[in-house]
């Protein structure tokens, strides 16, 4: 990979992260848009994670033999019970790699 490609990637990613933080950009967020954006974190995170959990190979798979599905259930239970991110991440990863 050339340095030029590396810098181009860095530029594309930085711009996407920075662009709306620039005050000179003439964008005004109305109250409705601001409400809509309060849902951005749960929406994007769910959209990233759901295919990892529910799709095995190229197929939908909701069964006890889908390790991701079972592991995800365990993580849900752990975070609800413990309310602790570190404990949830460590125990569910331990379960996934050594038990399931």
């Amino acid at each position: 990979m050339s340095w030029a490609v590396l810098f181009a990637m860095a530029a594309i990613i930085f711009i996407s992260r920075y662009v709306f933080l620039e005050p000179r950009l003439p964008v005004v967020l109305g109250p409705r848009l601001q409400r809509l954006l309060t849902y951005s974190a749960p929406a994007v995170l769910s959209a990233i994670v759901a295919p990892l959990i529910f799709i095995d190979g190229e197929q939908l798979y909701l069964g006890v033999q889908n390790r991701y599905f079972i592991g995800a259930m365990a993580a849900c239970l752990l975070i609800v019970v413990t309310r602790n991110t570190l404990i949830t991440v460590l125990i569910s990863m331990g379960l996934f790699f050594f038990v399931l």
Binding site: M1, L6, M9, R17, Y39, P42, A75
Partner: protein, 247 residues
């Protein structure tokens, strides 16, 4: 008066430090879970033929796990520069939503703050800054810097480790490395489901993302995120107006 000024000043600088540490602490579990990915990013880069300096620079200046691994994979299978940059654009487009969401609280900060926090704006930093648990820190740049900075250090140290190890890694899914993402993101999503509209948002986003992934549609991530947000917002409007739809 002098005494009072002194106390106020010291409590302010103390506050900066405390906020920075709180941010670092808040992101710590996620910074830990990303270590295997950082190792992979480093060793895979070497395997694909980058020099060690390029491999480290990739994590240091690109600083985006999903885009880095996708680019390396494409490089390995001989896909050209345009393909790599297009995929990068597609994968990174979700960050537009993050910077838009943070615009109200960050746009008034000085340039050096905006550039630094923009550079550090990952999924993880965004999730921590937006989380209900740390609401009192939401417009505190030191807290965001602590979270983003801690994650940055962890990602880059893990990459260095991967470069040093340099061994070839087996396929991602077969090792189950991507479960680290599942565990961390669930730990972030579930506590945020405090209201019915958020539940609707999560359900719609998850369902539509799965459908789009099944038909292997690459732009699905952004679209399903948008659908989830819209569903959450509509649910909120309905909820607030006793069932009458007022948008």
């Amino acid at each position: 008066m002098k005494m009072l000024g002194f106390i106020m000043q010291s409590s302010e600088s103390n506050n900066k430090y405390v906020s920075l540490m709180r941010g670092a602490l808040a992101v710590f579990p996620l910074a830990l879970a990303v270590v295997p990915w950082g190792i992979l990013a480093g060793s895979y880069a070497i395997e694909v033929g980058l020099t060690w300096l390029q491999a480290q620079a990739m994590s240091a200046i690109v600083f985006a796990g999903a885009a880095q691994l996708a680019a390396l994979g494409m490089l390995a299978s001989g896909i050209g520069v345009m393909g790599i940059l297009l995929t990068t654009t597609l994968i990174t487009s979700r960050h537009l939503l993050y910077s838009l969401s943070l615009r109200p609280s960050l746009q008034t900060l000085p340039t050096r703050w905006r550039i630094t926090l923009g550079f550090l704006l990952t999924d993880e930093m965004f999730a921590i800054v937006m989380s209900e648990k740390f609401k009192s820190f939401q417009s505190n740049p030191w807290f965001a810097l602590g979270a983003g900075g801690c994650f940055y250090v962890s990602w880059n140290l893990a990459t260095t480790l991967g470069i040093v190890l340099g061994t070839s890694m087996p396929e991602l899914h077969s090792v189950g490395l991507d479960f680290a993402i599942v565990a961390t993101f669930i730990a972030l999503i579930v506590p945020s489901i405090k209201t019915f509209p958020v539940l609707v948002c999560v359900g719609v986003a998850a369902y539509s993302a799965t459908v789009f992934a099944l038909v292997q549609w690459q732009a699905g991530l952004l679209l399903s995120s948008g659908l989830g947000m819209l569903a959450g917002y509509v649910a909120e409007c309905v909820y607030k107006n006793d069932g009458k739809v007022v948008l």
